[in-house]
Each structure stands twice: as structure tokens, then as C-alpha cells.
């Protein structure tokens, strides 16, 4: 990561290409006016992305290619924990054991931390409420959810995204 902030032309061109293709697929109407507006909005998006430092946090392509595998695993986790939370909500005694768990993560990049935090929030029963340096504060609804977090499975899965090679 260079100290002076300059995005590489290849990254910008790649993002522009993705944006243009998505626009073309989305709109489906190919009149000069609409295409012009599309190109304009794509360029505007690129400008905003550069202003907000998007390219500083850009993920390597291999990370993107590994995402679907992790999503598949996450889907299973979401189904499991959803059924658990639904059971807790619907049982008359409301057997909740709220608990705070502090996770220390080895993720170094910001995007890695964001992915980990979002994965935890996506599975019902656990919500990331604070990220600071390399610590994530997670609120759990049940003891089972807290135990799942402590097993660090999600962290391993996210770490696997960023392995070099």
C-alpha cells in the first residue's frame, strides 16, 4: 500500500468495466440518451470511489473468486442459527442467555475485518457491535451462539479468503 494515495489505472479501468457491464444489463434499453446517462453515472461512481479511498481497500481478485465458497458455508450457518433463534423466540419461557464475547482477530486488512464482522452479524443470534483495532465485540443471544464464536470457525473461513497463492 503506497503512502501517497494514487489508484492504479488498471484498478480504475476494471471497476469502470464492471460498472458499465452492470449498467448495460440492468437498463436493457439502448437509446443514446440512456447510454449517455449510464456512462455519466459510471464515471460519477468512479469519482466518488476515488474520493472515498475505495482503491486503498480494494481486495485482490483471488479473494473475490473464493467468496462464493465462503458464502455457501455461511448459508448453512445462517440456516442453523436461524432455526435456533426462531426456536428461542417461539418457546414460551424465552430461554435467552445474552452474553458479550470479545474476539481477537488476526485479520490485518480492513476489508478482512469488515467481512468477518458482517459474517458474524449475518448469522442470527450474533451481532458485531464494535470493531476496534484487532478486537471485535460481539453480542450473543444464546450460550450456544457464544460457543460457536469461540470455536473461531468463522474467523478461519474468512482468513482462508486472503491466503496468498
Amino acid at each position: 500500500m503506497s503512502s501517497s494515495y494514487s489508484a492504479r489505472p488498471l484498478q480504475i479501468a476494471g471497476l469502470l468495466l464492471i460498472l458499465l457491464i452492470s449498467w448495460a444489463l440492468w437498463s436493457g434499453i439502448y437509446k443514446p440518451l440512456l447510454i449517455g446517462l449510464g456512462v455519466f453515472s459510471c464515471l460519477l461512481s468512479i469519482w466518488v470511489a476515488m474520493r472515498t479511498g475505495f482503491f486503498l481497500h480494494a481486495m485482490p481478485l483471488r479473494t473475490f473468486l473464493r467468496l462464493p465458497l465462503m458464502w455457501w458455508w455461511l448459508l448453512g450457518e445462517v440456516v442453523k442459527s436461524s432455526l435456533e433463534v426462531a426456536r428461542v423466540i417461539l418457546s414460551p419461557s424465552l430461554p435467552i442467555q445474552p452474553e458479550l464475547v470479545e474476539l481477537t482477530t488476526t485479520e490485518e486488512t480492513d476489508s478482512g475485518k469488515v467481512i468477518l464482522g458482517n459474517c458474524i452479524t449475518l448469522s442470527p443470534g450474533t451481532v458485531t457491535i464494535d470493531v476496534h483495532e484487532n478486537r471485535l465485540l460481539v453480542h450473543c443471544l444464546t450460550a450456544q451462539g457464544a460457543a460457536g464464536l469461540r470455536s473461531r470457525e468463522s474467523e478461519r473461513r474468512v482468513a482462508r479468503l486472503e491466503i496468498k497463492r
Binding site: 433463534v85 423466540i89 458482517n118 442470527p124
Partner: protein, 107 residues
């Protein structure tokens, strides 16, 4: 025949999704406190989203609409936890401490 199977499958998915929205709503009313209610909301925004969109994609069949629906689902699943985090973190920053019935590794 395949039409019928797909219809039944998407019907099941849509109804289960609706049921999860309902359960999430019940949970938001029943659970005590802010942070626990957040969990009920996350039931609606993940499980119900996935089920309902899966049902709609089956209805759309193999078409551009199905890809669009899938993309919308992905966007929702990316932004929902971010919104949850913003809400929870705002509550934490403004001094609302989560009440733990059993103290974990408290911060």
C-alpha cells in the same frame, strides 16, 4: 410437470420466508432490551431475505430477471449487517451497556 414442482417449491420457500418475517416480528416484541431485539431483526433481514428471494428466483426462471433478483439479494445481504452494525455501535457509543445475564469475557 416440472412447472408444478417449481411452483410448489417456490411456494414453500415464499411461505417459509414469510413465516420467518413473522417470527422476527414476534421476537422484536417479545425479547427484552435493545440488543436482544436486534437479533430478532437479523432473523428477518437474513433468513427471510434469502428464502423469499430464492422463491422469487424460481418464479423468474432462467432469465435476466433471475440474475437481477440474485444481485438485489446480494446487495441486501451486504448492506443489512452494515446497517445493524451502525445501529448497534451508535447505541454502544451513546452509553447503552448490554445487560449480560451471565458475564462473559466482558469488555
Amino acid at each position: 410437470m416440472i412447472e408444478l414442482v417449481l411452483d410448489i417449491l417456490s411456494w414453500v420457500l415464499l411461505c417459509t420466508g414469510g413465516a420467518f418475517v413473522l417470527i422476527g416480528g414476534i421476537g422484536a416484541l417479545r425479547l427484552p432490551g435493545f440488543y436482544t431485539r436486534l437479533h430478532a431483526a437479523s432473523l428477518t433481514e437474513t433468513m427471510a431475505t434469502i428464502l423469499i428471494f430464492a422463491g422469487m428466483i424460481l418464479q423468474a426462471g432462467l432469465s435476466l430477471a433471475a440474475i437481477k433478483l440474485f444481485a438485489i439479494m446480494v446487495f441486501l445481504l451486504l448492506t443489512a449487517p452494515t446497517a445493524s452494525y451502525a445501529l448497534a455501535n451508535a447505541a454502544l457509543q451513546s452509553g447503552l451497556r448490554p445487560v449480560a445475564q451471565r458475564e462473559g469475557e466482558d469488555a
